[in-house]
């Protein structure tokens, strides 16, 4: 069995057979795979920063692959509304110039996804369980923070032993070599296609490091507050997640790829309670949210 196949089996076992530990085992397995695959040769090239253009191309491939699996929600008014909220939030960050793109997917699970380069998708199942615009802002700001901090890229780089991720790393390395030699290669197309492979290989089933989730929560609070919302919207969403009932099985993917909502609440209290209190009287916009999301409930 090849290293890759062995890793795939191990990863599947970790995710399916030992569910309670799944979130943390995969990282360790990927770490082992990284050593086994002996990819150190290109490490110098691989670990350099992606250009914004590369990040965007990769993200488009990931988004196209993702949308091959899940449809967009048909309510265009809702799509436009989510883009207005998201674009406003993103404008309060140091990466305002990215081609920020927000979308609602037609799925009743409770989830949200960030892709490199500024694409953020939320499930309709999540939107319909939210109470007001500040809660939506909290969710979008958390995902925006993943993009700002390039968390997904870091995860791809650190998982270089995983086939699809190694491919992305190789393309980026080759691009830098070809740029020096002046040979034009279609990096955008290669990266987009590598992005599709990442989705097939389970990019969205892999957890990010829990420190990344906590950082995205903290920055999510700050971004919401900067945009003029009550930043406690994220606290409210986390308390909703903490109360999910067994019949809300659609939550499973979210919860299996994140630290528990209770743990995230405790961390927020520790790190940003001052900002939460200070900006807690900013608007929550219940009526505007109901107007935009009500038809689709």
């Amino acid at each position: 069995m090849s290293h890759r196949a062995a890793l795939a089996v191990l990863a599947t076992m970790a995710l399916v057979a030992r569910p309670a530990l799944a979130q943390w085992d995969v990282g360790r397995i990927l770490e082992l795979g990284k050593k086994a695959a002996e990819i150190g040769r290109q490490a110098g090239e691989a670990n350099r920063e992606y250009s914004a253009e590369e990040e965007i191309s990769l993200g488009e491939g990931i988004a196209a692959g993702f949308l091959g699996a899940v449809r967009l929600h048909p309510d265009e008014r809702l799509q436009r509304y989510v883009n207005r909220v998201g674009r406003w939030l993103a404008s309060q960050t140091e990466r305002s110039e990215l081609p920020w793109t927000f979308g609602v997917i037609d799925n009743d699970a409770i989830n949200a996804f960030a892709m490199p380069g500024g694409t953020v998708l939320v499930s309709h199942g999540l939107v319909r369980r939210l109470g007001n615009e500040s809660e939506l802002a909290g969710v979008l700001a958390h995902e925006i923070a993943h993009v700002l901090q390039r968390h997904q890229l870091a995860a791809i780089q650190s998982a270089a032993g995983w086939g699809a991720a190694a491919n992305v790393t190789r393309i980026v390395a080759e691009e830098q070599i070809s740029r020096r030699g002046g040979v034009a290669v279609d990096v955008k197309a290669s990266l987009a296609s590598a992005g599709v492979d990442l989705v097939r290989d389970g990019l969205f089933l892999r957890p990010l490091d829990r420190r990344m989730e906590h950082e995205a929560d903290l920055l999510g609070v700050i971004i919401s507050a900067r945009a003029g919302y009550d930043p406690n919207g994220l606290v409210a969403v986390l308390s909703m997640l903490a109360q999910l009932k067994p019949e809300d099985a659609g939550a499973s993917l979210t919860l299996s790829t994140h630290p528990s909502a209770s743990e995230r609440l405790a961390e927020l209290e520790k790190t940003v309670s001052a900002a939460l209190e200070r900006y807690g009287a900013q608007p929550r916009l219940d009526a505007r949210f109901r107007g935009a999301a009500s038809d689709t409930r």
Binding site: G61, D230, A251, S256, S273, R288
Partner: protein, 170 residues
Amino acid sequence: MTPQRVILGLVVLLAAARVAAQEATTNRPTELRERPAAQSSPLATLPARTPVKLLGREGGWSQVDAREQRGWLPTFHLRFAAVLETSSPSSALSVTSMLGMGSRQSPETSKVATLGVRGLTRDQFQSASPDTAALRQLQSYRVPLAEAEAFAQEGGLMAVPVPVPGRGKS
């Protein structure tokens, strides 16, 4: 057992799960307040580990019934009973565990084991072929910054400089 009885049994079980799902306890001594605001008058002081029934949420506040009184507490002062768990890995995808029956409910277990019971599944991703038409559709929903700014203004949202704790601007 008649079909009606089976259905009634299911309803009772589901109702029980629902009630259990709303339970939380205070994680420290805290004031139960009339409204969701720190300045609001206290109705009672609740000791740590007071069981409460959760009724609603408003920003960082949770509305609860506690000791036969209704009021508001800071959400951070609550410990939520985790209700999502599956009884065993092998039953992770079974209907039984989906409905929360046959699975113990313990506040100590907070991880859910299943991957996409009725959401996104591994297979769905594995067999996906890229949909560039849908990507273009998605990108057509982008809004220019000026439109987002006007939208913010309509809602009374004002940009404020907020530093990231422990850093400068993020």
